[in-house]
């Protein structure tokens, strides 16, 4: 479904050249849920933007369903890390969720139903008539998630989507995402700082190294298919996987490209 080959991205600003990605090779199957983790500033957002067709790669390419991505492909939704800036301040919450559906020419009654379902799913059924700036950061983030959910995408990209919410809401949103993924089989790529979250959500965890950035580890998560916040997180295998990923990230920070010493084999 999604093939990333030899992806390299170099930012060239006034006198400052930053190699954000050295060479990324990664394939995501249709309907797979992949979490990307890596140290801060290693280029996770850059990777996501290249996949979304918002940034042109310096070298290499991204293919979606066999076609080279050179602009945002249809049927793709993105939840941006700067969720606050991704909402239209002159529109209400409902209008924000509805706007992409309008552009997609979804008929009116269906649109209203989708908007309401999506807002209810993120616990904002009553906030539809508010403007984004009247909401807290966590609520704004949930609006951005509702907008992506209502869009019914085939591919969903999320950049730290649960960073600004409290622990309980975060758990609820994680399970909302899993429910959605089970139901619709959306191909999902989710960037996160949180190793526990990555292991809990994903069928695969991709660990990026520090700059110069490559894929450091591509880990299959062999936990039971149905996840549960309490049962899954207290599974001994969960602790092992988590320690394994943690070891890789620590190693990535100190000595990029090398496998970590002293971590158990996953």
């Amino acid at each position: 479904m999604l093939e990333i080959t030899g992806l390299r991205k170099v930012y060239e600003g006034r006198g400052r050249v930053v190699e954000a990605l050295r060479g990324i090779d990664l394939t995501v199957e249709r309907g797979e849920l992949v979490c990307v983790v890596g140290p801060s500033g290693c280029g996770k957002t850059t990777l996501l933007k290249c996949v979304a067709g918002l940034l042109a790669p310096t070298a290499g390419q991204v293919r979606l369903a066999g076609r080279v991505v050179d602009g945002p492909p249809p049927g793709m939704a993105v939840v941006f890390q700067e969720y606050g800036r991704s909402l239209f301040p002159w529109l209400t919450v409902s209008q924000n969720v509805e706007l992409p559906l309008r552009e997609k020419r979804v008929p009116g009654p269906r649109r209203t139903a989708l908007v309401q379902q999506a807002l209810a799913a993120v616990g904002l059924a009553d906030a539809g008539s508010a403007h984004p700036w009247q909401l807290s950061g966590g609520m704004q983030q949930r609006v951005a998630i509702a907008r992506a959910v209502a869009y019914e995408p085939q591919v969903l990209l999320m950049d730290e989507p649960f960073a600004a919410v409290d622990a309980q809401t975060r758990a609820d949103l994680e399970d909302l995402l899993l429910g959605l993924w089970h139901r619709l089989g959306i191909t999902t790529m989710l960037v996160t700082h949180d190793i526990d979250e990555a292991v809990y959500l994903a069928r695969r965890v991709v660990v990026l190294s520090a700059a110069p950035t490559v894929v450091q580890e591509d880990l299959h998560v062999d936990l039971p298919h149905d996840r549960d916040q309490i049962i899954t997180r207290s599974d001994p295998r969960f602790a092992e996987l988590r320690a394994h990923v943690y070891g890789h990230i620590r190693a990535a920070k100190t000595d990029p490209g090398r496998p970590p010493a002293g971590t158990m084999k996953a």
């Binding site: 941006f80 239209f88 002159w90 706007l99 992409p100 700036w133």
Partner: protein
Amino acid sequence: MSRAARLMLGALRVLGLPVLLVAGWWAWSVWRPSFYVPSPQRIAAVFGDVWLTARLGDDVLPSLVRLLAGYVLAALLGVALGTAIGLSGRLRAATEPALEFFRAIPPPVLVPLIMLVAGLDTAMKVLVIASGAIWPVLLNTIEGVRAVDEVLSDTARVYGLRGPARLRRLVLPAASPQIMAGLRQALSIAIILMVIAEMFASTSGIGHTVVLFQRQFQIPEMWSGIVLLGLVGFLLSLAFRALERRVLHWHWHQRETHA
């Protein structure tokens, strides 16, 4: 505090200074009577006779029509050109120095030039008004369009906003605070140019009439024209504020909550 008292206080705050100024003027005119500075009552007495009779249709109306035509022309052209230039980096680089130069020319000096080219009729006055009022609209629109938030712009691209939809639902709303600021500046420039154009070369209009009275030493009548211009400016500014409140309510509230 009772409701009545609060209303009184509110009225005092709004009307206090104007009342004080008129009272001061009146006191001055009593203390030092002067042929050139008539008392407020004298001016009020001639006001109705001068402006609310035949001149309403012959002078006031033509002035307002020219003003409006010139202003609307400047607004439409300014926003359209400004959007085009703001969206294209190449166009911006090519036009920016020229625009800065034209903006630096004081608009009144264009009056003699445009008189030569366009003659003395209404079209000339509309052109003078538009040619001066367009600059703040144009430059502010360019700035506003250029400064659309990058994340918002990416969001719009991902969700398929292209072409006219992108313009209508992203670019123009995002730039609207800047565009409105430009339109506000343009309004006062337009009024000034209307008066100047009418003083230079006209057989009708408020500006023309004020100069006529001055030449004929009809001093209270002349003053009533100045008062009328002040009132026109004040009412237009009120109307503009009402428009702003409708278009920009989200912007003001947003600034309040993030202040």
